[in-house]
């Protein structure tokens, strides 16, 4: 549409630039702090222009927090969560859409309703389950008398135990269930025409072959969109790893490491707060997901809007 609106155009740019300044300011200040020396960062008027200590501070923060192995851990866990979520979403939705059996709707709702139970609100009992992931089955067997029966017959005391604390499984497994992913895949599978299923069956393809050779190639855009969102989600996990991992030397995640960097009385022992290092570490930690969002912008937006979360 051709309209001449020079005043409004100017105002638009002013408003947008003002908004950008608000959005960029905190991170810019953090960046500037990360480029300064301990003395400079603690001198009263805040600096707005970077100094030359960035690399020194990055190196020191990196060594102090032992970021090397922690980045590998985080990358491993995030990849695990992404792969797990997409696989689970895909196979569950496939079973729900392409197989005919009773209770389909019930199972769909059972998964979908978990949306209402975010990890944060059920954190204490979920932690208790993670300490022994087989508790539910043990309890059920005890209550139903199966344990008693087994003991009476074979003399074996049933004591199931699977401790997930301080393990990759414990970090990944509770996070891979995905109501939104399943929903997204279900919506997509519902758009697959019946003729395609019939043709595949006529050609002698079983369900797994149909899934692998036809549906998965068709759902590549879905996968890219979901993967972007889920990677950011997994990388930024904080509360769960904070609780599950006490052995941070071996299983620590980078984001959790930030909790040790808060420069208060505890970490500095009443000394000068090491803001330059804390900010350098903050920058390092937030860089990978930001890079993903910027590089995969198209998929990211699509994923965000399609999953509604």
């Amino acid at each position: 549409m051709i309209e001449r609106t020079p005043v409004l155009n100017f105002a638009t740019h002013v408003i947008l630039i003002f908004g950008l300044v608000i959005i960029l300011l905190p991170i810019w200040l953090a960046f500037v702090a990360a480029t300064q020396t301990l003395q400079a960062v603690n001198s009263a008027p805040v600096e707005f222009w970077p100094s030359d200590q960035l690399l020194v501070n990055l190196a020191e923060a990196w060594a102090m927090s032992d970021f090397g192995p922690k980045f590998l851990n985080t990358l491993f866990v995030a990849t695990g969560v992404v792969v797990g979520k997409i696989t689970l979403a895909c196979i569950t939705a496939f079973a729900l859409v392409f197989f005919n059996f009773r209770g389909r709707v019930l199972i769909f709702w059972m998964i979908f309703i978990t949306l209402m139970l975010p990890l944060e609100v059920r954190i204490v009992p979920t932690y208790a389950v993670a300490a022994n992931a087989l508790t539910p089955f043990q309890t059920i067997m005890d209550w139903s008398g199966i344990s008693w029966l087994i003991k009476a017959v074979s003399g074996i005391e049933v004591a199931l135990e699977w401790n997930l604390l301080n393990s990759y499984t414990g970090l990944i497994l509770p996070l891979v269930a995905t109501a939104t992913g399943t929903f997204l895949y279900r919506q997509f599978f519902l758009t697959i025409p019946d003729e395609l299923v019939e043709a595949a069956r006529m050609d002698g393809a079983g369900p797994l072959r149909f899934l692998w050779d036809i549906l998965i190639p068709l759902s590549k855009t879905n996968i890219a969109a979901l993967a972007t969102i889920m990677f950011v989600y997994a990388w930024n996990q904080y509360l769960w790893p904070l609780l599950v991992i006490t052995d941070r030397a071996n299983y620590g995640m980078v984001v959790v490491q930030l909790s040790d960097l808060v420069p208060d009385q505890l970490t500095t022992g009443g000394g000068t707060p090491t803001w330059h290092l804390a900010m350098a570490a903050t920058l390092v930690v937030m860089l990978p997901p930001i890079a993903i969002v910027i590089l995969m912008q198209r998929w990211f937006i699509r994923g965000l809007i399609n999953t509604d979360k």
Partner: protein, 293 residues
């Protein structure tokens, strides 16, 4: 509904099993456990839990600290939502004009979505820090006027601003998508009728955004109840004097630091009901949104 099916077989069961098992172990069991803890009390010398009815809830609801936590959570929820959404809406409407630099603006507004909550908290702790941050200017004029660790209202302001900052990107993406789905013919018709851009914003775009607006309103409030943990933990640690002890943070503190499982469970149940109520409302609006567009 679909006519062409595969016959149900062990394959379908095997495909469904993993997700169902995980959901059972990590969602339904803990939720049931929370219910169980909420209505029982662990005996101090062992001997399992005894049924205490609504005692735990009564205790929680008569605790002044709990109510101040509810109050600050509501303040936080409303303030972050209003701030983030108004900012996102303004930016989205102007970015949608697609002037030069449109793509750069868009990416510059979106990326904060990727910043982890504790990183936001830590960065803002520096920004709001009385000695070296933004307000150190004021403190050089009036020493001690700004100090997050002393004045509750300043700590609440800080977490609200940090929380809102983090939420802007999410709402922005949705507002922008909604704006771009407004049919071009509508805009053109309005332009032909002589509506200038500002008039079209007020009379065409804003009304068409209502469904998105309600949807985001609920999502933002729900998120602020559940996602605030990281920000509070690194920015204020719940202090000073428990002024920023949001509900999620209090559950964590009571459960893991105070080892009061029953009290934490009762609070979890209340929060769950709240989230469920909000999600229920959200579904109604999602439905409306689908009809609308």
């Amino acid at each position: 509904m679909r006519r062409a099916y595969f016959k149900f077989s062990w394959i379908a069961a095997a495909l469904l099993a993993p997700q169902l098992l995980i959901v059972f172990v990590f969602f339904y069991w803990p939720s049931a456990q929370a219910l169980y803890w909420a209505f029982t009390l662990e005996q101090p010398w062992g001997g399992g839990n005894t049924w205490v009815g609504f005692d735990n809830f009564r205790k929680v609801l008569s605790d002044a600290y709990y109510w101040s936590s509810v109050r600050v959570s509501v303040i936080y929820a409303l303030a972050t939502t209003v701030l983030a959404m108004s900012m996102a809406l303004t930016l989205a409407i102007f970015v949608d004009r697609q002037l030069a630099g449109y793509k750069a603006y868009r990416v510059a507004i979106i990326w904060p979505y990727a910043v982890a909550a504790p990183a936001v908290g830590l960065a803002f702790q520096f920004v709001f820090n009385p000695g070296a941050g933004l307000f150190s200017y004021i403190n050089t004029i009036a020493p001690g006027w700004w100090d997050l660790s002393k004045y509750p209202w300043q700590a609440v302001t800080a977490i609200v601003i940090a929380g809102a900052w983090k939420q802007v990107a999410y709402s922005f993406v949705f507002f922008l998508a909604a704006l771009q789905s407004i049919p071009r013919s509508l805009t053109e018709a309005a332009a032909m009728d002589g509506a200038r851009p500002l008039r079209r914003m007020m009379d065409l775009q804003l009304p068409l955004l209502t469904p998105t607006f309600f949807f985001l309103l609920v999502i933002n409030i729900t998120d602020s109840f559940t996602d605030s943990f990281g920000i509070v933990d690194t920015l204020t640690g719940g202090g000073p004097f428990r002024a920023t002890d949001l509900m999620v943070y209090k559950i964590y503190a009571d459960g893991f630091r105070g080892f009061d499982y029953s009290g934490a469970a009762a609070q979890s149940i209340i929060l769950m009901l709240l989230v469920m109520a909000l999600t229920f409302v959200q579904f109604r609006y999602i439905e409306r949104r689908v009809h609308y567009t």
